[in-house]
Symmetry: C2
Subunit: 190 residues, 2 copies
């Protein structure tokens, strides 16, 4: 049971968003810009950063839903779902571009704490082609999921048990996005 009176049957962050629409609005907008807005990083890459950070923070709802979003951005095949599981299990050895591998390293440090990021981490990402905006957005995605993860688990929100029910959620997140109102919340009452 959630720590406060959230509407039943709304999974994870959607129940919290419905409880407090005032704060949901900027939080949804931030996710939409970071994960689906115009960017030289693909949405699949940005959802992968979100999934890896959420996995590190052991937030089941966020890591499964954003893993599904990453997989859906890549085509939604079983191989894509297997791929994101492998990336989360071992980001440093992941089957991704050298640039994304370096950005995942930065994201992992930000998750632990902002001061953990070193000049060498930044230099490694730059050498692999990362721009300043890409580094900025990686830091902010990791920081933002340090918020979303704590929000979801700090309220003890209800979360579906079976991994399969996160796939339709990920599909909607990938293709319809985050900016809709709480009344039509992603995954609501699914």
């Amino acid at each position: 049971m959630a720590h406060i009176a959230l509407e039943e049957g709304m999974p994870g962050i959607t129940g919290a968003f419905a409880f407090r629409p005032e704060t949901a609005k900027p939080m949804r907008e931030l996710a939409e810009i970071l994960l689906r807005g115009p960017n030289t990083l693909t949405s699949a890459e940005r959802e992968t950063i979100a999934a890896v950070v959420s996995h590190g923070n052991e937030c089941r709802f966020c890591q499964l839903s954003h893993s599904a979003a990453a997989a859906e951005h890549r085509g939604g095949r079983e191989a894509d779902y297997a791929w994101i599981e492998a990336v989360k299990a071992n980001p440093a050895g992941a089957d991704v571009s050298p640039k994304l591998r370096a950005l995942l390293q930065i994201a992992g440090k930000v998750r632990e704490g902002g001061k953990q990021v070193t000049a060498a981490d930044i230099e490694a990402a730059r050498e692999r082609g990362a721009t300043d905006v890409e580094i900025h957005d990686t830091v902010l995605i990791a920081a933002a999921f340090s918020m979303y993860n704590r929000y979801v688990d700090g309220l003890a929100t209800w979360q579906p048990e079976d991994a399969a029910s996160y796939r339709p959620m990920g599909k909607r997140m990938a293709h319809e996005g985050y900016a809709r109102s709480s009344a039509e919340a992603v995954g609501a009452r699914s």
Copy 2:
């Protein structure tokens, strides 16, 4: 030096906001609602939660600026500045209402990780008069500062050395707020 090319002389988060106005907008809106929006918790109480979380995360820019905002909301006397320093040093024994002391306990747990919050922490806050919205907002303020702190330090933003220069910043944050555009950013080029 910051990890990416932020404009020089803009302290802490203001330089990052100016670098990426698209993400600055929802981040400013969230801070404005959480810290200055209509609420049964006073702005002084909410800024105190923000300062305590930022102190725990060792984010010098955020903890000094939000400490100043908390002190300014209480009147801005030397005693108010001394008071917030004492609260940060020992939140569990702080000279605050029993309700705020219980909410600071929840915020401290959220800072460590969402799953650290127990039913007993929530019950203690309820027994001291906290409502569901107050508990929700405490969790979200602590989660949001887990983001802002990581954003500020993960980019290695420039931060004024002397504690005194955070006072005019805190005064503006308390009395003018967070919702202004990046061009007129709080503390910009001060």
